[in-house]
Amino acid sequence: MTHGHPGGDVKEVRGTLWSLIPAPTLWAVHFLVCYVTAAVYCAKAGLQADLAPVRIAIAIITVAVLAGIFAAGAHAYRIWGFELKIQPTHDADSIRDQRLFLGFAAFLLCGLSFVATLFVALPAMLIETCQ
């Protein structure tokens, strides 16, 4: 088994299986907070209620979650390093490729989570009342 890769570009940031989780988890938290906020608000305020308070709450949580996903993306980027010169197959038997793979997959998941979070926030911007 080879351990590591020659050269000084091996960064200290380690990837683990958990590196994959933060961004989609943030998506899930955002989704649940949006849904529960709106559902509880509408259940208690009635179908005619104006959604403005919910819209503001969702805007705040969306910005916070997007910032979190962005931070997770930046972390994944540091693990991976965006080495455009090499094909991102990361299929060598080395600690380096293991790390690059995890960083790359985590980075892609951050992208997906970012877009999916924006998707979920959109209805709050478009719908006016609980009806």
Partner: protein
């Protein structure tokens, strides 16, 4: 190592190794064959049984189509029709689509990782026996005119009304709850298998994509199935004991069931889809003769789909009157899930484009699957949009859509897998001609059946009607669908004949017939029972293509564990990321205990259906006794030496405990699922809060605060004492460890008594209103878990007393301590919710 390979002495040594391995791993003979627990046997039974249930459910579908062929038909009565379509959906989803994933994974995953078996073979066997008992019970009911009639999703209030729904609903609830437990058992086995049983060197970035999918789907099962188990519990309590969770006249809400069902039901669609795409991801590179394109992208897509699929459940509930904004969130997530799904399909297509494609039967099925699934996906995008869904809801358009996704996304890829992997499972090949003829018959029959249904649905035909009047414009469409369904069935029969026809005279398949690159194809023909001649050192995603002399080295036993010197079944346990060896795991061999345990536990569920409570309790107790015996005789066994030589100059410990051991991980993962089910119940409590103006309702009795505090103190002390016993045991003081566990048992029992007394003292009656009912169900859940915790504490005391749990070999006590962490959390949440929330909400 450097001696010439043809050295006679070397050859003789290898033969002896092979003889020992063969003897150790041989399946039992005669009637004892059914005590086998090895993945190659259990996986085969599991697959065969799932296919049999599929055929059964297929026959029901044909009955349904026969009834609908012409208007005003009286081929089936309304009631028989209801039983047929309910059981068709139920069996296809619960007895075929999900179990076949587990079956195929149990069969193939160890091969793909050159692991001799999964870490808990008896658990696999237990899961299989649970599955077959529950499945036969549920399906058999139709022969007694007692099958469920309420649709595969069992919506109340129709199904909570015992006059209208009869015993069928109980059979559905209890039979399937039992099978869901088996599914969770399989998920635990498979997750630990993927994380800990990979061969040395198979880093996380070299793992076959199939293993990635198994990991994701296993995790999804842990979070998707438990809410349904929680729902089943509420449902059965309402049916059997009149606790009104879904009865609006007493504060319940039928929509709560829909939430719990679909929190399970929508992820389930992906639970059946992802493993099938995983098969395609193994097949496509072989026939493109190149590595998969975009490995990381597929991992992204699998993990991403796993998450987002949990945000879709309300798209089955668009017409229940939820606020538009709620529907909007779920509609948005339903559109977002298209992105990762599409990524997977594009990666497969790109691999084919970049490779040298040779056409073959498995690839033909993959191609057909992609065509059908993409069509179903496109109508999925349509029904994910709320206004369109309001038009199409509950019409045949949805029937067409779901069959396109499931048959394209699950059935065809599965058959691709069957044609591809058949030689590994049986040593024989399937027929090219039957495969091709079967494919085109099914492909034509399927599309001719379901394509017109889109139109039938748009013309207004509702689902689940047993007949319809003539001249509504549905006549010829239905007739066409019914005739085509028969064509589809002929195609299925051709393929099933190919699978099950006797092949005694047929020569064995050649080795690695498709020239694949992945590890499972190192298998010899005919296959050997040992699973892997030795456990190789992996350096590549496609070792058969890329590692020189790989097959020869494996055959000569030149890697790890080439022998079974002590004549015990062994496999290697490695670290999660880099796959470095941490243990040589001894795994238990054939036993009837898993089967007996399944009969006992299954019996308790079946007897409970008929409300024979005492017999059910006795049967359950027998099941628990068999499980304890199985644990006592087959787990955490103290080895005769601390470590052993595993070949290549390496040694590995024979025993691990705590988070280094597979048992600890199994406990952890099981308890995650358990915690999810508990969350489903807590969700129920807060759901009732949202639907009531005041919750707890004004003037209703509340649990007595004093007894709640007493329960909290009792459980906290029991938890602390369990942790203390781990410390005492590690310090070599077995006496102190046992004493602290005895005190822990006393306090846990005291805490449970106090918890039960809290609502009893104030006269809370669970049949009066949903509020006392949900409080009682949380207490019931906590009490049952405390009882299990006490049983485990007693087990550890017994193990310590006879010297099976010691200061060094302490897996038992550490696993029980882990359980008690979760138990403490469960108790804390229960007491906080029922005790503190009423104070806050006032």
């Amino acid at each position: 190592m450097n001696r010439p390979l043809d050295d006679a002495e070397d050859r003789e040594r290898r033969n002896q190794q092979e003889e020992r391995l063969r003897k150790v791993w041989a399946a039992p003979r005669g009637w004892r064959y059914w005590s086998a627990v090895n993945n190659s046997e259990v996986g085969l039974w599991y697959t065969g049984a799932s296919l049999a249930f599929m055929l059964f459910a297929g026959v029901l579908a044909l009955l349904v189509r026969a009834q609908l062929a012409v208007p005003d038909n009286d081929f089936l009565s309304a009631d028989t029709y209801n039983q047929a379509y309910t059981l068709h959906g139920t069996a296809m989803m619960f007895l075929f689509a999900v179990p076949i994933f587990e079956a195929v994974a149990i069969l193939l995953l160890p091969q793909m990782m050159s692991s001799r078996d999964l870490p808990f073979p008896r658990l696999s066997a237990f899961g299989f026996w649970c599955f077959i008992i529950g499945g036969v019970f549920v399906c058999g009911s139709i022969f007694f005119d007692a099958a469920p009639t309420g649709g595969w999703f069992m919506y109340p209030p129709l199904t909570t009304d015992t006059d209208q729904s009869g015993i069928g609903a109980d059979i559905w609830l209890l039979g399937l709850s039992f099978i869901e437990i088996a599914s969770i058992a399989a998920a635990v086995e498979l997750i630990v298998g993927v994380l800990k049983c990979r061969p040395p060197g198979m880093r996380i970035n070299l793992m076959p994509l199939y293993a990635w999918y198994v990991l994701v789907v296993g995790a999804m099962i842990l979070f998707a199935f438990p809410p349904l188990i929680a729902g089943d519990l509420l449902f059965e309590l309402e049916r059997a004991f009149d606790w009104p969770f879904f009865d609006p006249s007493r504060g319940g809400d039928p929509i709560l069931w829909q939430h719990l069902f679909w929190i399970f039901g929508h992820p389930e669609v992906y639970i059946v889809f992802l493993p099938s795409i995983a098969l395609a991801a193994m097949i496509v590179p072989t026939f493109a003769q190149r590595p998969i394109y975009g490995y990381s992208w597929i991992v992204l897509a699998a993990v991403g789909t796993g998450f987002i699929s949990f945000g879709l459940w309300v798209h089955h509930m668009y017409t229940t009157g939820l606020p538009a904004i709620s529907l909007g969130f779920f509609s948005a997530a339903s559109e977002a899930v298209v992105i990762p799904t599409g990524v997977q399909l594009f990666a497969l297509i790109a691999t084919l484009l970049l490779g040298q494609v040779s056409l073959s039967v498995p690839l033909l099925y993959v191609a057909g699957a992609l065509a059908i699934f993409i069509f179903g996906g496109l109508t999925g995008v349509m029904v994910a949009i709320v206004p369109f869904d309001w038009q199409a809801h509950d019409s045949y358009f949805v029937v067409a859509h779901l069959h396109y996704t499931l048959i394209g996304g699950m059935f065809f890829p599965l058959l691709a897998g069957v044609y591809y992997f058949y030689p590994i499972a049986t040593g024989k090949s399937l027929s090219y001609r039957l495969g091709v003829v079967g494919f085109w018959t099914m492909f034509a029959g399927f599309n001719a059946t379901f394509l017109p249904m889109h139109l039938t649905g748009l013309l207004g035909m509702p689902r689940r009607v047993f007949t319809y009047p003539a001249d509504l414009g549905w006549d010829w469409l239905n007739l066409f669908s019914s005739v085509s369904a028969a064509v589809f069935a002929v195609g299925v029969l051709i393929v099933m004949w190919d699978i099950f026809r006797p092949k005694g005279h047929q020569p064995y398949s050649e080795r690695n017939p498709w020239n694949a690159g992945t590890l499972e194809w190192v298998a010899r023909m005919p296959p050997e029972s040992w699973g892997a001649r030795c456990v190789p050192l992996i350096e590549s995603r496609y070792p058969l293509w890329e590692q020189p002399d790989f097959v020869r080295k494996v055959d000569e036993g030149r890697f790890y564990l080439p022998d079974a010197e002590e004549e015990k079944r062994e496999t290697l346990i490695t670290t999660t990321l880099a796959a470095e060896v941490v243990q040589c795991l001894r795994i238990p061999g054939p036993s009837f205990l898993p089967m007996l345990a399944a009969i006992g536990i299954g019996g308790s569920f079946i007897l409970a259906t008929f409300h024979w409570w005492i017999a059910a309790a006795l049967s359950g107790a027998a099941g628990v006794a068999f499980i304890l015996r199985w644990l006592w005789t087959g787990t955490a066994m103290i080895p005769e030496k601390p470590e052993k030589d595993i070949g290549l100059g390496a040694t590995a410990p024979l025993y691990q405990s705590g988070s280094n051991s597979v048992g600890w991980w199994a406990m952890f993962i099981t308890m995650l699922a358990d915690l999810t089910a508990f969350s489903g119940l807590v969700f129920g409590y807060f759901y009732f809060w949202t639907v009531h103006g005041a919750f707890p309702p004004v003037g209703s009795a509340e649990p007595d605060r004093f007894w709640l505090v007493a329960a909290a103190v009792g459980y906290a002390a029991a938890w602390a004492l369990t942790l203390l016993s781990v410390r005492a045991n590690a310090n070599g003081s077995a006496y102190a460890a046992c004493a602290s566990l005895v005190a822990g048992i006393a306090l846990a029992l005291g805490g449970t008594a106090a918890l039960v007394f809290a609502p009893s003292a104030t006269g809370m009656d669970p049949t009066v209103h949903a509020y006392p009912a949900i409080v009682w169900v949380l207490i019931l859940w906590t009490g049952i878990h405390a009882a299990a915790g006490v049983l485990m504490q007693a087990y550890v005391i017994a193990r310590t007393a006879v010297g099976l749990c010691t200061a060094i070999y302490d897996a038992d006590v550490r696993n029980v301590a882990l359980y008690w962490h979760f138990m403490a959390l469960t108790a804390a949440v229960t007491i906080a919710v029922i005790g503190l929330f009423p104070e806050v909400s006032r």
